[in-house]
Structure formats: C-alpha cells, structure tokens
C-alpha cells in the first residue's frame, strides 16, 4: 500500500531575528553603490569591518549619522566608504540598519557583501527589506496599492529572471533532483507513518546514490560561482593586436559609453591594472596585452611570450587588426589566428577589423569574403561597438564563455546552494550513522526548502518562505 499525503516543508524565510544584507542600488557597475544591512546585529556586524578615519565606534553613534572610513578585511583595505547608521524604528525596514556607500565597481560590491556574509549576515531574499518594512509597520496604505500591483506584475518576470540565471540544463537538473529527493522523502514518511503495515522501505543504498548525485551537481554549481569570475572580477578578456591596430581607441569606445570604472585594487589576486566594463550586468575585465608590439617575425620573443601569458588568463581574446594595412603587419593573418586558436583550443577568439571607416564599399566586401567571422568596426567613430557588445553578451548567454557550465551569478542562489549542500551532507552523515527516518527527514525538508529557493518551485506549504519574492531587492 502506498499513500501519498501532505509533506510539509518548514517555513524558513521569516528570519526576522537574523541580519540580512544586499545591494540596494541596481546591480552592475555605477558610480556609487549602496549596500544595505538590516537586522538586530546590523550595527554590530558593520562595526566589525568598518574602520572610521576618526576612530569612531559605530556602535556608539547616533541614528541618522554618516561616517567616513574604510571597509577592512582584517588588515586589507577593501574600499573607502561612507557608512550611514539608522536605528530602529527609524529606518526603511524599521530595524537597525546600516547603509554602506562604496565605490560602484561590482568587484568591490561583491567583496564587501561576501565579507558581511562571512561575518554573520544572511543574503537577503528578493523583497525581504520591503517585507520587513511591512512587518514593522513602516509602509503606509497609500504606498500599498502601487506595491501590490508591482508584486502582481513582476511575479512572472522575477521568476523568469531567476530561471534564466540557471542556464542550460542545470535548472532542469536541479528541479529533477528536487523531485527525486521529494519522492524519497515521501518514502521515508511512508515507513514512519505506516511502520506497522506491510510497506516497502526506502532503499538506503539507492538514497545514498541519489545524495551523491545531488552533492556533485551542487558542488559543480557552487564552484562555478567561486571560480567563474563573473561576479567576482568579470570575464577576463584579452585584447591583442599590433600597436596601431586601435586597441586603446576600442577600449575607450567601449568604456566611455558604459561609464567604465577603472579600478586599482590593492592586495587582490589580480596582478595588473585592469579596465572593467559592465554590459547589462555582466562584468568584463580587459587584460592589458601591450606585449604585442611586433610582427610574426618576433613571435618567439620574450615580449610576445608575455602576451601569451596574458591570453592564458583570458576567457576570450579580441584579436584586433587594422583593416587597411593588416598585410603590412601580418604575413598571414589567418595563420596567426589559427596559431592562437590551436594554442588555446578552449578560448574563444574574436577577429575584429578596425578602421573600416577608411574602406570603400568594395574593400569592405573583400574583407568580409576573406574573413567572414570578423566583426567590422570603427573604434574612432564608434561604429560596430554595439554589435561587438552584443556579441560579447551572446557568448556569455550561449555558455561559450562558461565552458558549457552554468555560472551562478546570483549571491542569493549561491547562498541557497551552499545551504542545500550543507543539509545534503547532514543527510549523508545521518545515513552513515544509521539515523532513523524522522531525523533524516528534518534535514531532507531543509534541503528541499533550499532547492525550492533556487528553482522557484514552491508548494503551498512552502509558501511563507517566499513572501514578497517578487519585489526588487532593496525595493
């Protein structure tokens, strides 16, 4: 006899006792970013990473006060910031709140958020600040209608965005694993509630296999966040080409339009000054390859080998050439491109013909026939820059730049994945210790809950954890 009955998954989201953190300004690069920390330990946690230039103790400051200082990870300075302190109930959420205004680079934003997470904050769920504001009676009825309509209209969109972030087959895979885990949980419940009857028991060996499968998928996803560079430092892009190919003009054309943030961050693993560019929320980091100064004749020279070193670090190589006189610099451009391609078969090489404004119709056609893959631009006139940016984005979206693996770009997902993994490990440990089903079930429910946070699958009984999920973070 097999009976399917309600399986409850515990409510998790209403963690108003804990302290949450998230970016309050739009994600991606801007001139300034505001990171909001809210909850009972907001001031305590912030004071632990903030060093005031006047040696002020954040814990002793009045509400609605602003303080200049540095965000410190131990002895390492992450950024110079302004910190605003709001004490409950006089804050947006009605709780103790700290807002950190830092420089806008997404790298800095993420460094600070990661630091706060390590110091005991939890990554805020979508709309959670606003939820807390409601729960604490901070939102009045006149604001209500607009917000309510917003929830209704953004519900679908928010979910789609979340799903897009789980690209490729992974979202399906997670959903499938969740389903399998749910089935297993039901089997375990069955043997608990019908122990007296002639029921089949959940096969523990099969369960172990499932858990290993889940563990591997979770680890893969978590790794993709940790090593994927997307959030942390942007996708590394090397621009190669002869000095007069227009490399810096191209860079400026790209950067000027996007209010590029030029950042020099000391003490990071990065070893060079780099230019960072955000296209629709995806960070790109341009690696200086000034090493290419010479032609094919000196390709084995030291300078060139340095250039190759830089290319090694890049996910993508933009190989720029002057459409007017490439023959002067390269005996055979195709051979050169092929050589790079053969050296780094994993890397995407984009061939870019610059200075096409100087070409007539006929020569453009010749160029297109000869190099059908090439993107034609005029960096000076900014012709073709949009197409280039779209091409860069499309490479990310189609997974070319991510070795076919999903990249977890969302700290909230990253948080959930880590928590799910921790629960799965507890279940595994429980299995090893021969723990009884009711205790296994506690951790399984918990894992299912975190899966649900990622895949957006919510059963009615998981509902409360997702209140206000359709609000934008930080409202």
């Amino acid at each position: 006899m097999f009976i399917k009955h309600n399986f409850f998954v515990p409510l998790q989201s209403m963690q108003n006792q804990d302290t949450i953190v998230a970016l309050a300004t739009p994600s991606g690069a801007g001139a300034i970013a505001v990171i909001r920390v809210s909850g009972p330990e907001a001031i305590l946690i912030a004071s632990g990473i903030f060093k005031s230039i006047h040696n002020k103790d954040l814990k002793k400051q009045r509400t609605h006060s602003i303080h200049l200082g540095h965000i410190m990870d131990d002895n390492r300075v992450i950024d110079e910031v302004l910190v605003s302190v709001f004490k409950n109930p006089n804050s947006y959420t009605g709780e103790d709140t700290v807002e950190i205004s830092c420089h806008g680079s997404s790298y800095i934003q993420q460094e600070i958020i990661q630091l706060l997470l390590r110091k005991g904050c939890r990554s805020a769920q979508a709309g959670e600040f606003t939820l807390r504001a409601f729960l604490n009676g901070k939102m009045d009825l006149s604001q209500a209608e607009a917000v309510a309509d917003l929830i209704a209209s953004e519900n679908e969109a928010a979910h789609q965005v979340a799903m897009q972030q789980m690209r490729g087959g992974f979202s399906n895979e997670i959903a499938k694993l969740r389903e399998e885990l749910l089935n297993f949980a039901s089997l375990i419940e069955l043997e608990l509630d019908f122990a007296e009857e002639d029921v089949e028991f959940a096969d523990r060996i099969q369960f172990q296999d499932l858990l290993i499968k889940i563990e591997n998928v979770l680890k893969k996803l978590i790794d993709s966040f940790a090593t994927g560079n997307v959030i942390k430092a942007g996708i590394p892009v090397a621009i190669a080409g002869a000095p007069n190919a227009g490399k810096s003009t191209l860079l400026n054309a790209l950067l000027n339009e996007e209010r590029a943030i030029v950042s020099d961050i000391a003490g990071t693993t990065r070893d060079a000054i780099e230019d960072e560019l955000t296209i629709k929320g995806i960070g790109f980091r341009f690696i200086d390859t000034a090493g290419i100064r010479d032609t094919i004749d000196t390709i084995e020279s030291i300078g060139i080998s340095k250039t190759y070193e830089k290319m090694q670090q890049a996910r993508l190589v933009l190989f720029l050439f002057d459409a007017n006189d490439y023959k002067e610099h390269y005996k055979n451009l195709e051979v050169e491109v092929n050589r790079i391609q053969n050296k780094y078969p994993q890397k995407q090489v984009l061939l870019i013909a610059n200075k096409t404004d100087l070409l007539n119709e006929h020569r453009i056609q010749t160029l297109q026939t000869k190099f059908p893959e090439a993107i034609l631009i005029s960096a000076l006139n900014r012709d073709g820059i949009e197409q280039l940016k779209e091409k860069l984005l499309s490479l990310v979206n189609t997974g070319v730049l991510t070795s076919g693996d999903t990249i977890v770009t969302n700290t909230r997902h990253y948080d959930s994945l880590n928590k799910a993994l921790a629960e799965i490990k507890k279940v595994q440990q429980g299995l090893e210790e021969n723990l009884s089903g009711d205790l296994l079930a506690i951790d399984i429910r918990q894992a299912l809950y975190y899966f649900g946070e990622i895949t957006g699958q919510v059963t009615n009984d998981e509902v409360l954890g997702n209140i206000f999920a359709n609000f934008c973070i930080g409202k």
């Binding site: 009955h5 515990p10 998790q12 409601f134 917000v147 999920a469 359709n470």
Partner: protein, 623 residues
C-alpha cells in the same frame, strides 16, 4: 424535568461527545449529554484499540490536558505496545488493545463521577436557533431543552446508511438506529453538507480459530501507559494478538462477489479513507500483491469475540464468510457478525473557526466525524477542544486554541478548518511540520500548564509535571556541567567503536554522539551515583536521554517554529473584504472569502493561495 438552561449541551455520546462533556463539566459548566443509547457511551465502533502512530501522541495530549481517554485506555487495556521504538523519539507511539465492553463501561462510570454533568437518552431531532445564535435543541420526544452552547458529535449517525452486499438499511452503527433531522436543520441554516463512507470488518468467534496457524504478536515486555497521572498503572499481564495472511485463493473468492459489491456497482458514491481501504479495494487496486496482512485482535479479557483487522468489507455476508474460511487459521470460522460499510453526513470543516464553533451559528460547535475525520483519538481530541471552548464561550472568556507547533491537536484542527478534507481525515506524523517537538513523552510539558491555566487540568497533575520538569533539567544540567576523565570515558567509547577522546570534556558532548546511550554513560560512576542520589525513575531517565541526544534537532525545529509564530501573530480582520484586492488571484479571492483565515500564516496554508497573494494581503493590511 431539566435545568432551566444548560451552559453546554452535547449531542452524541461517542469519543468526541464524552470528552466534550467531561471537559465542559470539569471546568464548571452546567452540562447535559444527550445520546440515543446510554449503554453505548464511548463505544469503540471499529477496532478495539487506542493510540498508534500519531494517534498515540494525541491520546497523550488529551491526557496531559486532563481528558479521560488516556485513563480509560490504561484501565481497560489488554495489551500495550510502544510502536516505532527503533526510530527517533518523535516517532515513538503508544498503542493499546482494549477490552471493548470494559472501555465503554469505564467511560460511563467516569462520566457519572463527574460533577455538573447530567445525562439524557433521546434522539435530538432539531436545533433551536434564533438570530443566528443557538438557543437549544429539540428531541424526538418533542422536548425542548435550552442551552447557551451546543456541541454536535453525531459520528456516523446522521442519515447513516449501512451496506452489506446489495442489502442496505438505515442505521448509525450495527444494530442502532440512524439519526434524522439535524442535517436538514443545518442545511436550512445555510450549512454545506457532504457524504462520507467508512467500513468495518467481521467479528468472529475465537473458539472457531486455529491460532497455531498464525503468528503470535505479544505486547511489550515492559509495558508503559498513556496517562501522566498516578490514577493508572502499567499492565501486569497482557493478551496477544495474532497475524495471518490472505492468499490468491481468498482473493479469487472475494472477486466472485464483486458484482454484488456496493463499492463497485455504484451504490456507494461517497469517499472512504484511502489509507484504510476495504479488502476488496486492496485486491482490486493492488492486483499484483498475492497476500495481505490480517491482524486478529481479541475484543477483551474474557470475551471469545475477535476483530479481523485488515478485512474491512461491504461484500455480501456469504462472500465474506466463504473467503475468510480460506484464510490460514480461519478454516472453521464462525461469524459473530459480518463486516459492513456505512455512509453518513458530514459538514466540510472549513465552515468552522479554530475553536470548532461554526461560523454561521453562534454558540454551535462540531466535533468528530461530523467534521470529516476518522478515528477515536481524532474525535476525542476535537471533543475536548469543543468542550473547553463551549465552556469558555458560555462564560464569555477568551477562546482556547492550540498552535501547530504546540500539539497534534493544533495541527488537526488547523488542517481541518484551513484545508478541509475530501476523505475521512486521519492524523499522520508527517502532517506535523514540527513533529520533533510534538512527542508523546513531553505532551505534559507542552499542554498541562496551558490546561491548568484555563482551569481544566487539576493541580495534582500540574505538580507532577513540574516535578518531572525539575528533575529532568537537573539531570540535563548535570551532563552539561560535569566533566569526564579520559580514563573512564575511552573504554566506553572503544566498546562502542566511537572515536576516542584525547582530553577531558563535558559529558553532554560525548552523550550527544549518535551511538552513545544513557546506559553507556551510566558506566561512569559519577553518573550512576547522581541517578541514585536523586532517585530518578525511568520516566526521568528517558526524558533526559531524549533531551540530550536529540537536542540539536529539537533546537532546530524550535527555531523554525519561532519563525512561523511571527506570521501567526499577524491577524486578518474578520470582515476583511477580499473582493477589493485587485491583485489577488481569482482562486485566492474565492478560497479566502470562503475560509476566512484568522492569521496570515493560516491564509498561506490554504491551497490555491500563492505567496504572491500573501504578499498582496500583507501590503493591504499595512503590516
């Protein structure tokens, strides 16, 4: 002939009615119990057993609050088992086999001893309602009796219809008349009603059975008991049950009668419980199984009557008889009576408030099968809660509601009134999201103080609980504060294949390891000495072991439950107009308007209400 006006009238004397009567009367209400047959108080209409998985926890909860079910079960038990003992403590579930006749007798005598309680035998045929407020009941004899509150606990009696094969006749139970009039009154008052179905197996003569062909199933070697009070003792002798199996031959014989089965020929239209299927249902739905378990249970200490658990059926009596004769041990079986199915009226429980008072009629309460539940324990616990709340209502006091993280009773009632039920509702541990907290061992900790505070649980009960609490926390603290020496601990760990320890530490730490038990810890002389000094009994030892060994899980669930309570605290005004909320989904509007949840938390448990709808509601309520 009667009091001028009763404070509480209970209609029906089954498990729900009896608990309701005891609670209301014990709290001090002038109470009247009206039933069609005073010889059948708290009759066990189906299996002669109380408790079981999730149900045993409910009986413990009823007892912890001062209800009678636990005491009666202990006094009339013929066998005790703690089920699921190999699993975690949240799963441990007490169950007794009962002496059916003694059970009813003991209940009746206990009710007779209860102050403030009057009895009357008659059929209540109608309700007197004025301005949507209950004012009394009418009986079959034409008598009108006034009351401030009325609790309906009609069980399967409302328009009960019994089926055996192609025979069908009105009746509330084998050999008893059905009750008419109440359903019709309720429908006229605007209530929605439905039909449900349940069934019961044949009863047989034990002298005609060959038990040597069955497996004996005896009770626990060291039986425990239900009641936290000192009014009962564990059993000193027990009777066994027996197990046998059906076979393909039996199944063939049963199939021969399928064309005369009211289940299959469309005569029974209502829904029965999926988890308690009839034997014909089992062989029909699980055709690949060539045998099904049958539990052969004695009906008492002295009677020769046996109950054939697992053979519930409404097939014609000759088919039942022929098939059962092919079961091992039943070759010469004689019937006391055949199995049957019964259809009865129920009222979808979404029409109730958390107090079990109806939303439509002020002062009218429902408890038990009338709410679509099944099981003595489920019924008894609703009766208890309805009795308490009817008393409180009659005395204009605040209602008494148990939350989902406080009691299975809380889960039961919240599920019923929030989600309703399509089939007879039975409790399962998996229905409780915080079951690690809702254990049978701590029902007194959870509920006795609450019941004492409203004047139901007696002071002696409260004192016992306080003593248990003090002793167990003293012992837990001992483990937290006392260190072991490496020399005394490592031999114990070695024996258990547990990692050895390099330096001295607090005992609590080692004790919480999965495979270390209290018996292991008792090998440390200081532990044993502490037990002897303080004279701890088994109840304390077990309590402490649970508290230490499962502390991690218990804390985790407590945390989760605390989070739930925040949303429980957000009340929805009773007159909240859902139609005004443009952003609510159509389905949510409909369901919310119908069920009228009292808190945001409850609203979120209604199927068809999405998180999105909940956000919208929170927004509109400005909080």
């Amino acid at each position: 002939m009667f009091e001028n006006e009763y404070e509480v009238i209970i209609v029906g004397g089954g498990h729900a009615g009896s608990e309701a009567a005891a609670a209301a009367a014990n709290m001090g209400s002038k109470t009247l119990l009206i039933t069609m047959n005073l010889q059948n108080i708290a009759q066990m209409s189906c299996n002669p057993a109380m408790g079981g998985i999730a149900k045993g926890q409910i009986v413990r909860e009823i007892d912890a609050m001062g209800g009678y079910s636990g005491i009666v079960s202990d006094k009339t038990a013929i066998q005790f088992k703690m089920l699921n003992k190999s699993k975690g403590p949240a799963m441990w579930s007490p169950r007794v086999q009962s002496d059916r006749m003694k059970f009813a007798e003991t209940w009746r005598l206990m009710l007779e001893q209860t102050p403030n309680l009057d009895f009357y035998q008659d059929m209540v045929s109608g309700l007197i309602v004025k301005n949507n407020k209950i004012v009394g009941v009418k009986t079959g004899l034409g008598i009108e009796i006034k009351a401030k509150t009325v609790i309906l606990t009609n069980g399967t009696f409302l328009n009960g219809l019994i089926h055996i094969g192609d025979k069908q006749f009105g009746g509330g139970r084998a050999g008893e008349k059905a009750s008419t009039g109440i359903t019709e009154d309720l429908i006229n008052l605007g209530f929605e009603s439905g039909r449900m179905k349940t069934g019961t197996p044949p009863r047989v003569d034990g002298r005609s059975l060959d038990f040597s062909k069955m497996e004996e199933q005896s009770g626990d070697p060291i039986p425990e008991k239900f009641s936290f009070s000192d009014q009962t003792n564990p059993l000193s002798s027990q009777r066994s049950c027996y197990m046998t199996y059906t076979s393909p031959t039996v199944h063939e014989l049963l199939k021969d009668g399928f064309d005369r089965s009211p289940m299959f020929n469309g005569r029974i239209k209502s829904i029965g419980p999926r988890y308690c299927p009839s034997i014909e249902d089992k062989i029909n739905r699980f055709a690949d199984k060539d045998r099904h378990q049958l539990f052969v249970e004695p009906e008492g200490w002295n009677t020769v009557e046996f109950y054939v658990n697992g053979f519930s059926t409404s097939l014609p009596e000759d088919v039942q008889f022929k098939a059962l004769r092919s079961v091992a041990g039943f070759e010469n079986v004689k019937f006391f009576r055949p199995g049957y199915a019964i259809e009865y009226d129920y009222f979808p429980p979404t029409q109730l408030k958390h107090t079990l008072e109806t939303k439509l009629v002020d002062g009218l309460f429902f408890a038990g099968q009338i709410n679509g539940t099944t099981g003595y324990e489920e019924a008894a616990s609703q009766g208890l809660m309805a009795g308490i709340n009817a008393h409180l209502k009659a005395h204009r006091k605040e209602p008494f509601i148990l939350k989902r993280n406080e009691a299975y009773i809380g889960v039961l009632i919240d599920d019923l009134i929030t989600k309703g039920t399509e089939e007879p509702y039975r409790m399962f541990t998996s229905r409780a999201e915080y079951r690690t907290l809702l254990r049978q061992d701590n029902a007194d900790f959870r509920l006795t103080p609450k019941s004492f505070a409203i004047g139901l649980a007696k002071e002696s009960r409260m004192q016992r609980m306080v003593e248990k609490q003090e002793k167990s926390s003293a012992f837990v603290n001992f483990f937290k504060k006392t260190s072991f020496s490496v020399e005394e601990m490592n031999p114990i760990l070695k024996e258990k294949n547990s990692a050895l320890i390099k330096q001295s530490d607090k005992m609590f730490k080692v004790f919480s390891r999965p495979n270390i038990t209290l018996n292991d810890m008792r090998k440390i002389p200081t532990v044993e000495a502490f037990i002897n000094e303080n004279n701890f009994d088994n109840e304390i030892l077990e309590q402490v072991e649970i508290q230490v060994k499962y502390s991690g899980y218990i804390d985790k669930e407590k945390n989760n439950a605390d989070k739930l309570n925040r949303l429980e605290g957000i009340k929805i005004p009773n007159d909240f107009d859902y139609s005004k909320l443009k952003s609510l989904s159509f389905e949510a509007k409909e369901k919310l308007t119908k069920i009228r949840p009292t808190t945001i938390s409850q609203a979120s448990r209604i199927s068809g209400v999405s998180p999105n709808d909940i956000s919208v509601m929170l927004v509109y309520m400005g909080r």
